[in-house]
């Protein structure tokens, strides 16, 4: 069964994803459960519009992007290994430096 989740972008990260902040997506059916690591690969192949190196570096997000799972820092949730649940909101926030 496909896994419906909501992917959101903020702080400018949306500029790499067609300038759209909120994306309702269905992750395709797969045997093992979806981790954020899997999600990043999937996003790179299916969603990224431009300059992938400004979103992914190695197998994780590039420095300066904070990942949130349902309004909590992903560090509290297991980071790359977190098992994505149905209807999770996964948010990618680019840190702002201006003032």
């Amino acid at each position: 069964m496909p896994l419906p989740i909501c992917i959101e972008f903020g702080g400018g990260a949306e500029l790499l994803f067609g300038k759209v902040k909120t994306h309702e997506v269905n992750l395709p059916d797969k045997e093992a459960s979806w981790t954020i690591k899997d999600l990043l690969t999937w996003m790179k192949d299916n969603m990224l519009k431009e300059r992938p190196e400004l979103f992914i570096q190695g197998e994780t997000v590039r420095p300066g992007i904070l990942v949130l799972v349902n309004d909590a820092d992903w560090e509290l949730m297991g980071e790359l290994a977190y098992n994505i649940q149905e209807n999770d909101r996964i948010v990618f926030i680019s840190t702002l430096h201006g003032g």
């Binding site: 903020g10 702080g11 400004l54 420095p63 820092d73 926030i93 702002l96 430096h97 201006g98 003032g99």
Partner: protein
């Protein structure tokens, strides 16, 4: 750090009457405010509202760090400067505005290029620090100096229609490096000159920084330690998210720090700003 009297004068009681009647402030809180020294790094879009509200509330001493001069293109968001002050040092302009509002407050301009040679000396003269700067290198430097000096850091930032706010290095919460151990790639960094900003957005974030600093000064609970406030001005949405705590592995606030007093690095180099963007390197405060 900063010593102030133990009693309010009649002039102070009359001036601060509308906040003295708040039970959460009262005379005790007002005396605490008067004994607190707050440093604001950056006299721009965030620093202007932060400074004037801290002056208004009666903070004992306010320091302003900025090396730049007022330009006309600042005035769409840096509301303490004026057309007549174009060319004046921004820290002097902000100090003038704060003194005009409240002569009880001691205002100190720090007209220096804030860097590893002077950061710690300046930071340690204050109790609470506001990051109102506009570039990554200053944000790392100021974070490290605040951790080493043991000061809470109320950090604000803004770009385009968005703002972010959190309190670092306070009550078991993370520092900037706990969240962002590595600086972002230079080509991913957008400042207000490149990306633009709607002026009232740093206005709102800078005012919220003042509020958090006031709560810290009055020994009230901070709302944004281990929490990050995200503000999206386009849809008027505020979201507060839960952050990780202090990271034992952090190179500056962790259990075995490698960045310590006397070892502050060259932050412009650390952030790689020079490599690809000379202008950005020059905009380090």
């Amino acid at each position: 750090l900063f010593q102030h009297k133990e009693r309010l004068t009649n002039a102070e009681i009359s001036r601060y009457s509308r906040q003295l009647i708040l039970p959460e402030i009262g005379v005790k809180g007002q005396l605490l405010l008067g004994k607190t020294a707050i440093l604001i790094v950056g006299a721009g879009g965030l620093g202007c509202p932060a400074a004037i509200y801290l002056a208004a509330v009666g903070i004992g001493k306010i320091g302003i760090v900025d090396y730049d001069e007022v330009e006309l293109s600042n005035l769409h968001r840096q509301i303490l400067h004026t057309e007549r002050k174009v060319g004046l040092a921004k820290c002097q302009s902000v100090v003038g505005a704060c003194r005009g509002l409240n002569s009880f407050v001691e205002c100190v301009p720090h007209h220096v290029q804030f860097d590893s040679s002077n950061a710690l000396d300046i930071v340690k003269q204050y109790d609470i620090v506001l990051d109102a700067s506009d570039n990554v290198a200053t944000r790392y430097l100021l974070n490290d100096a605040c951790v080493i000096a043991g000061k809470p850091l109320v950090s604000g930032s803004a770009l385009r229609f968005e703002g972010q706010l959190t309190v670092y290095n306070h009550e078991g919460g993370p520092c900037y490096r706990c969240l962002y151990p590595k600086p972002p790639p230079v080509e991913a960094v957008t400042n207000c000159s490149d990306g633009g900003v709607l002026g009232v957005v740093p206005g709102i974030i800078g005012s919220l920084q003042a509020l958090e600093a006031i709560k810290l000064a009055c020994k009230m609970e901070s709302s944004y330690s281990r929490k990050l406030l995200l503000f999206d001005a386009l849809d008027g949405r505020f979201t507060a998210i839960k952050l990780r705590g202090r990271q034992p592995s952090c190179p500056v606030c962790g259990d075995s720090p490698t960045i310590v007093r006397g070892s502050l690095v060259d932050y412009v180099q650390f952030c790689g700003a020079q490599a690809s963007d000379k202008d950005k390197a020059l905009t380090v405060l």
